[in-house]
């Protein structure tokens, strides 16, 4: 077992004929992910990699392939539509890799998807990797090996560092979930921690956070009240200069400044071991 994706995932790719879509479809197929087709409006009937049918819409793709997951590689200005389309077509798991989606679009998407009980990962995320079973995203497949550590991260390439450091120590991952760094996204730390807590294959968890927002603090709350599995963490941005603030209103809304220090304090209070640099994390769980 694992969470969200595995050998039984039947994946379609929205934007499959675009540069990024095609490149990563190739990588996912090479990894052994069960990619069963893709969508590019206007290119229905074409084929990709000689064996993957292209459809004009998610609906026709779903009807023809019975896909149960979709990954989105379309340009930012079309990403909201792609998510609405996937949700309306009844795809229960949507992974949106696209970065730069407008935040008001994302608020509409999130509020709409919540009505439909659809799971969205991302946007602006590296996607999912269940080593040895399915790579649904852009995490390089060869940097992780199967194992019992669940990884969840707001960052992209920083996650790769951690997976790579794990592999170098012979430590494997059950599933790695990149939730993305956007202010409004589909899935948060707490959602994923809950899945890991209930996943028999996952025995330990690594959480990779960064400055801004208060999702790490919420995760700490969940960990201290609900989690039985050990968690190690790293928070990026400990030395970052104060970022561009959202003005006064942002601070009022978010309650705190979202600094690394606050987050580390909250996590440590919840019994989480927090690493000084990312390559140090795996050792904290050994």
């Amino acid at each position: 077992m694992s969470i969200l994706v595995d050998k039984n995932t039947r994946l379609i790719v929205q934007g499959i004929t675009g540069n990024e879509g095609l490149f990563h479809t190739t990588q996912m197929v090479a990894y052994g992910t069960n990619v069963i087709g893709g969508v590019t409006p206007g290119k229905g009937g074409e084929w990709v990699l000689e064996k993957l049918p292209v459809f004009d819409s998610v609906k026709t793709a779903k009807d023809a392939t019975d896909a149960n997951a979709t990954i989105i590689f379309v340009p930012a200005r079309f990403a909201a539509d792609a998510m609405f389309e996937a949700a309306d077509a009844g795809i229960p798991l949507i992974i949106c890799i696209t970065e730069g989606v407008a935040v008001q679009d994302m608020m509409r998407v999130r509020n709409y998807l919540d009505q439909k009980k659809v799971r969205l990962i991302g946007p602006n995320c590296p996607g999912l990797l269940t080593p040895g079973e399915a790579k649904v995203g852009i995490i390089p497949g060869d940097i992780a090996i199967p194992g019992n550590v669940g990884v969840v991260s707001r960052s992209g390439t920083l996650t790769y560092e951690v997976l790579y450091a794990m592999k170098n120590l012979g430590m494997g991952a059950s599933t790695c979930v990149g939730i993305g760094g956007d202010p409004v996204n589909g899935t948060n730390f707490t959602d994923v921690l809950e899945m890991f807590e209930h996943d028999p294959k996952t025995e330990k968890v690594i959480l990779i956070g960064e400055i801004g927002g208060n999702e790490e603090e919420k995760a700490a709350e969940y960990i201290s009240s609900k989690m039985t599995k050990p968690v190690a963490a790293f928070i990026a941005g400990q030395t970052a200069p104060p970022g561009k603030r959202m003005g006064h209103a942002g601070a009022i809304i978010e309650g705190g400044a979202g600094t690394a220090v606050d987050k580390i304090k909250a996590l440590e209070a919840a019994g989480v071991k927090v690493a000084k640099h990312p390559e140090e994390i795996p050792a904290l769980l050994m």
Binding site: V103, M107, P126, S153, T157, Y160, M246, I253, E254, E279
Partner: protein, 379 residues
């Protein structure tokens, strides 16, 4: 993208929110003329994209056009928190009865827009929130339904706004929602919204921030961007779609991914170095972007070493390597370069850089240590 007060208020006015009569001026002479046109007392307000200009002396009351000219001269000569004042807003002075705080912004935790209001406006609202949170009212807005009038009325009730002003307040709230949603704002703030002695509600000051990711559909607003206040290197970086922030250290960094870029800075510091910048080349960075990034880093004379930390995913290491080679050919850098390539097409990338006389590293810690050492030597 931040907008100046005068820009924000122009937008407010376009959407039907009452603002004081006034205009922006770039010279004291212009300021004088505007003051003459307005007649009576005017307020001269420094237009800088930073808070606290009032305390810094950037807002002054002039009793006539002569004083307006004199004060404008003074303010146009100021620096506020390091930013030179290039423009002043000359507004008709208002006689104020009450100051209210009113804004619409994003609540990222709730995934919804939110109205924020307080009867204790005008002053530093962040302080009010910290010391008297009960004085701050928040009402969430359904992003699919939009603001409804009763929600604005709920806010009016909650901040004890006198009943006579409810109608006008609801109108202003509905307009501010149109401002917020029509401009893809991250923040649309009126502070203060005042009740004048003449019993009118007026937006005395305004602040807006626009979502950079939505500028593709806000082309009118793009033209409002004030690049005068950005470092030239940041402007150049934006041109290439790079996320760049200049810092005070001496180790230039080029990293893919914001999280990893921050982490690379963290680790440089952990090993005793000081980063010269934050630079995220972004996902799928091609050779041209990498070359531009390198040029931008090397224009900073403080830089004594450069760290490239690229973990290929959407970004391909071979593309990055080509960018580095292209830039080196062009810029002929004199400082040592530490390179770490891992992930997608890393082997090909390393092969391309084999003959380029660069220091290579395996781990991030290793790379950070080597660049700290190289920078020390370079001093």
């Amino acid at each position: 993208m931040k907008l100046h007060e005068y820009q924000s208020k122009t937008i407010f006015s376009k959407y039907g929110i009452p603002i004081p009569k006034g205009r922006v001026a770039a010279t004291a002479q212009e300021a004088k003329q505007i003051a003459e046109e307005l007649g009576g007392r005017v307020v001269i307000k420094a237009q800088v994209l930073v808070g606290g200009r009032g305390k810094a002396g950037g807002v002054k009351l002039a009793k006539d056009s002569a004083e307006a000219e004199q004060l404008a001269t003074q303010i146009l000569g100021m620096d506020i928190k390091g930013l030179p004042v290039r423009k002043v807003l000359v507004d008709e002075a208002s006689a104020i009865d009450q100051e209210i705080y009113f804004a619409i912004t994003n609540d990222r935790a709730a995934k919804k827009p939110v109205m924020i209001a307080s009867a204790a406006g005008g002053v530093d609202i962040e302080e009010v929130a910290a010391t008297s949170p009960e004085k701050i009212v928040k009402v969430h807005i359904d992003p699919l339904l939009g603001l409804r009038e009763y929600q604005a009325r709920d806010v009016a009730v909650a901040i004890d706004l006198p009943r006579a002003y409810w109608k006008d307040f609801v109108k202003i709230a509905m307009s501010l929602w149109q401002v917020y949603s029509g401009t893809d704002a991250i923040l649309a703030e009126i502070n203060p919204l005042v009740i004048t002695k003449e019993k009118k509600l007026i937006a005395l000051d305004g602040k807006m921030m626009i979502d950079d990711n939505a500028l593709f559909r806000q082309l009118d607003l793009v033209e409002m961007r004030d690049t005068d206040e950005d470092a030239p290197s940041e402007i150049e970086a934006r041109k290439y779609g790079l996320s760049f922030i200049k810092l005070d250290g001496n180790i230039g960094c080029m990293v893919n991914g914001a999280g990893l870029a921050m982490t690379s800075m963290d680790v440089i510091k952990l090993f005793g170095g000081e980063p010269a910048n934050f630079l995220d080349v972004g996902g799928g960075a091609g050779a041209e972007k990498v070359a531009a990034g390198m040029r931008i880093i090397l224009t900073d004379n403080n830089v004594k070493a450069v760290l490239f930390n690229i973990f290929g995913g959407i970004t391909r290491c071979d593309e990055v390597a080509r960018g580095i080679l292209a830039a080196m050919n062009e810029v002929k850098p004199k400082v040592p370069m530490v390179v770490r390539l891992v992930g997608t097409n890393a082997d090909e990338g390393r092969r391309l850089l084999e003959n380029a006389n660069m220091i290579t590293a395996e781990t991030l810690a290793d790379a950070a240590k080597k660049s700290v050492a190289a920078a020390k030597k370079g001093k």
